[in-house]
């Protein structure tokens, strides 16, 4: 199945897409462009929307809608899947100076998983920090394909994955409805909720793909 692991709704301050617009856009991708997209994860900036329930919308449009976070750290942005109340109590989701290594450790402790986003982004991506000598022991996956990347940034992420033998995910980083699905992650197994998503990522059997290849 094909899932977009990185998107932002109007719950994030810099997005203009509602979740309803996203599910409608999925119908355009499926019915007009012949693409396969089974669902997406709302990775809102510096927060997790515990109070939001999209199950009715998901059922109405037959789209899997999951929730996650994109947190700022001193070593770049990090996507977190499987966020729990315990994790949110343990770390300050809004702390933009947190250490990504501590976040990764806390995420695993609470059954979640933290994946550095757009590591090839010039100036703020993980690649820059690694070039400055920072190390991230235990890290084994990053976002390899990001739909919001400028020329050269996904290539840097690709090189990082090859050199470090990292696994790679794909996500659109959509802030507008029509950007959803630009990049996806292909899983050979079914994922039905956030817990299963974490399991599938930990299993390591997935591939980042461009939308044109999700057919």
């Amino acid at each position: 199945m094909y899932l977009d692991l990185h998107s932002h709704s109007v719950s994030s301050d810099d997005s203009r897409a509602t979740v309803e617009q996203y599910v409608k856009w999925v119908q355009v991708l499926r019915n007009k462009r012949g693409c396969t997209i089974d669902g997406f994860v709302l990775t809102e900036h510096r927060k997790f929307d515990f109070d939001k329930d999209y199950s009715q919308l998901a059922a109405e449009y037959d789209v899997l809608i999951m929730k996650g976070s994109e947190l700022d750290t001193r070593y770049g942005h990090v996507l977190v899947y499987g966020v729990t109340e315990a994790l949110a109590k343990d770390i300050d989701l809004g702390d933009v100076k947190m250490d990504a290594r501590e976040l990764m450790k806390a995420a695993r402790h609470h059954g979640a998983i933290a994946v550095p986003a757009h590591p090839g982004r010039f100036g703020i991506g993980l690649v820059d920090y690694m070039e400055q000598g920072e190390t991230f022991p235990g890290l084994n996956m990053v976002e390899r394909l990001n739909g919001g990347s400028r020329a050269g940034e996904n290539e840097r992420a690709d090189t990082l994955c090859q050199e470090q033998n990292y696994l790679g995910t794909g996500g659109s980083d959509a802030h507008l409805a029509s950007h959803l699905g630009a990049c996806l992650t292909s899983f050979p197994t079914d994922v039905r909720d956030e817990r299963q998503l974490v399991e599938a990522l930990l299993a390591g059997d997935f591939t980042p793909v461009w939308l044109k290849d999700a057919k």
Partner: protein, 146 residues
């Protein structure tokens, strides 16, 4: 039939794309805009030195000018009184003298309070894929039957 060259509501569908329209905001364009706008020069939009003091790599295109450019691209397509709302997020400074690509994608069509509404995602990008400005536009279009 109405006397107009723009599209009709019935011609538009979700997923339709407008553009990209390519243009360049030159030093001269920005100076002219600042003059008309009444923004005293030199300023960070026209002076390399002042821009650098503001932490910018060089003079930038004013946000209100980029909004005007995007508005014009949309009204050139849909007609002069078609644009009802434009809600933009400015994500990166926009440089002078570099190609700017403006595009829109229709994300919804509906009839609302007797009007034919088109909702679009709009984007101003650089040639290397930089997303300078993004947002949504609400446009009204005439019906072919009006």
């Amino acid at each position: 039939m109405p006397d107009q060259n723009g599209p009709f509501f019935e011609d538009i569908d979700m997923g339709d794309e407008i553009g990209p329209i390519e243009l360049v905001a030159t030093d001269e364009n920005v100076s002219t805009f600042c003059e008309l706008w009444g923004n005293p020069m030199p300023n960070r939009f026209t002076s390399q030195e002042i821009a650098e003091k503001s932490g910018l790599p060089g003079p930038i295109v004013p946000g209100v000018m980029s909004m005007a450019i995007m508005s014009q691209a949309l009204t050139d397509w849909a007609g002069p009184e078609s644009l009802k709302d434009l809600d933009l997020v400015f994500r990166q400074p926009i440089p002078h003298n570099k190609p700017l690509l403006i595009s829109a994608t229709v994300t919804d069509t509906r009839e609302e309070d007797g009007e034919n509404i088109i909702e679009c995602d709009v984007l101003m990008m650089g040639e290397a894929g930089e997303r300078y400005v993004g947002g949504i536009a609400i446009i009204t279009l005439p019906s072919s039957g009006e």
